[in-house]
Structures are given as C-alpha cells and as structure tokens.
C-alpha cells in the first residue's frame, strides 16, 4: 500500500518516454545546460557501464576516454535536464556492471559490436516499463 502511494508521487516526475539503451551501448547524452539566461544542449558521448537505482532515483554511468584519461559521468535518468539519449552502437556484454573496463586501456577497452535490428530496438523501447 505504501509503495503504491510512493509511486503515485513519483509518477509526476517520471518521463513518459524513458530513453531506451542497454549496458555496453555507446551513447550520446544530450544535456540541457543553463548559461545565464540561455539554454543550450551539451553532448557527452561514451559507453554505458552501469545503471543503478529505480524510480526517480535511477542513474546511469557513462565512461569515455579523454586525452588518455578515463572520465566517468553519472546522469539521473529521469531528470528533465537530460533531453535525450541516442544509441550509436551496441556492444556484446555479459554482465550488468562493466567496471572491469576501468582497469583496461587502449585496444582492450573495445567491446565486440552487437548488431541490433532498428525495428526491434524501437519495439523494445516502446514496450511499457522497458528498462534497457
């Protein structure tokens, strides 16, 4: 009962169309950034290595290499500041958390590409309660 009441409150902050992506996907995250009065979109692209939390608290971690230095950024999935998440490439992964990639450099970071039918991806994304 109390969980249902919580969901009622959280529902107001949850997106109607939650961006669909999976662990191991290379994504472009479009963030809305306020610069004084103006709003602009900043793109952070990298590999999704983890998702955690649920409901309004769900976060995902994107990792990329900048000038030989690993950079990780954690985004709140339901935040209105995340305009969209575009999937560029999918990778073959066997676990939900790709933290082992932190210890690797160079060629070893690469993931094998997984071909996903765009139609199937859309189908999965539109599924109710889809969670990548």
């Amino acid at each position: 009962m109390s969980q249902q009441l919580m969901n009622l409150v959280e529902k107001t902050s949850i997106k109607e169309q939650v961006p669909y992506f999976e662990i191991g996907d290379t994504v472009d995250v479009h963030c809305r950034i306020l610069e004084g009065e103006k709003e602009r979109i900043q793109i952070f692209s990298g590999l999704v290595i983890a998702r955690n939390g649920s409901g309004t608290r769900e976060m995902f971690t994107v990792r990329r290499i900048v000038q030989g230095q690993g950079v990780e950024r954690k985004f709140p999935l339901q935040s209105p500041r995340i305009a969209k998440v575009e999937v560029q490439r999918s990778g073959v992964v066997r676990r939900a958390k790709l933290y082992y990639l932190r210890d690797r450099t160079g060629k070893a970071v690469r993931l094998k590409q997984r071909r996903v039918d765009p139609k199937k991806r859309e189908e999965l994304a539109s599924k109710k309660g889809a969670r990548g």
Binding site: S2, L5, V9, S13, R57, P76
Partner: protein
C-alpha cells in the same frame, strides 16, 4: 484559523521541480480526520481543536473511547438528562486510533466535521510533529556526535568514552546540562517550516520538502507553521 491534520509518514523519495532540480520530499498520508471535540477558553481554559485519525474497531475500543466519539446510553446520562443538563455534542463517528489536539482558535470548526488534506491548499509551509526513532540507551558518540578517543597511543578500553566532564576540586561538582550517555530518540520531535510541495486530495497525500521525524508508518501531526519568516 487553526489549520492542522493528523496522518502517517509513508516514506521519502525525490522528485524534480520545474527547473529540473531534485527536491528531497517526504510523503505523508494525511487525513481524513474527524473533529472530536472543541476546547474553549471558557470551559477548558485554552482553545484547541481535537482531531481523530483512523478508525479503531469497536470491539477493540474501550467504552470510554467509544463514548468519546458517540452518544452511549448509561444510567448517568439518563440521570443528567432528567435533571435537565445539556448533553455534550459528539462527533458520531467510529472510535479513533490516533487523537491529538491542535492549539488555536476554534471558530469555523464544528464537532463531527470531516477534514481532508485540502485544508493545506493555501498554506506554504507546515510543521510536522512526530515521535523520533527510538535508539535505546546510546553512548555519547551516537547521541551527541562526540569524537571519542584514539584507537591506539595508549588508550585503553575507553575508545568511545566522552573524556573529561568538567573541573576538579573547584567546584567539586558537575555543571548542569553536561551531555552524557542515555536514552536517545523515541521523543516528541518537531520538524519546522517544511515547504508544501504537492497536495493530492483524492489520495489524501501531502508531500513536503525535507525529512519528518519517526519511522515510515509512524503517526504525525501536521499544522501550519508558527515560524515567522525573516
């Protein structure tokens, strides 16, 4: 006018405001409450509205609590009626589990009136009163955030002790108010000036910004804040 309601803490979560900022909120299931009694200056020496929340099955309620909310027949009542004493008005509802009084002027209230969370619709901030989580007898580190003593360097068996408690031969006593170990929690506690974020009249939900004392499911009293904004 006095504005208050009784309810139960549902739990905490976070929601996003219009600018995309995260707001930490507590969900409270508030009301519906019945007005059980009105305290008046003339009769009781103070003014307050007595509210009751959640029904207690009649078979579990004592006769006095049943008689508090509805008229019960008794020899005494018959005697008083015969003598021409006016009967006290009763709410005429089921016995209540949680009864509290909200201090303040009673004008506009009637015994038996039902209040919903809508009473907070024009109110910006509230005070929430509850019973904090009981932690039993707790040491000074947990209770007062003392730092304890070192793990090594000759400290023996008093790593979580409080250290010194005051002066020596003069004054040969402890000053009052010395913080020590003892019962921690399970005490009445007020969270003041919590901003009202959302009101859902259909589901009796009140969403306030910030934390509220007590465990999830604990009873709380909510009233308009008495904190004057500077």
């Amino acid at each position: 006018m006095t504005v208050g309601l009784l309810g139960r803490k549902v739990g905490m979560t976070q929601i996003y405001d219009t600018t995309g900022k995260v707001v930490p909120v507590t969900v409270i299931q508030a009301g519906p409450c019945h007005v059980l009694q009105l305290r008046t200056q003339q009769r009781d020496g103070y003014e307050a509205v007595q509210l009751g929340y959640l029904d207690r099955p009649r078979r579990l309620a004592s006769r006095s609590s049943r008689g508090h909310v509805a008229k019960l027949d008794s020899k005494r009542q018959r005697g008083r009626a015969a003598a021409g004493v006016e009967a006290v008005s009763k709410a005429g509802c089921e016995p209540k589990r949680f009864i509290r009084e909200v201090r303040g002027p009673v004008d506009g209230y009637q015994v038996g009136q039902e209040l919903s969370v809508g009473v907070f619709s024009e109110i910006e901030a509230v005070d929430v009163i509850g019973t904090s989580k009981g932690r039993g007898t707790a040491g000074v580190m947990k209770r007062h955030n003392f730092r304890g003593q070192r793990a090594s360097h000759g400290v023996k068996k008093c790593h979580r002790h409080l250290g010194g408690t005051g002066c020596s031969a003069d004054p040969s006593r402890l000053f009052k108010g010395r913080r020590m170990a003892g019962q921690y929690g399970n005490a009445r506690c007020t969270a003041r000036n919590l901003k009202v974020v959302q009101i859902d009249v259909n589901n009796n939900l009140l969403v306030v910004r910030g934390a509220v004392p007590g465990p999830n499911g604990g009873y709380v009293m909510i009233q308009q804040t008495n904190k004057i904004r500077g």
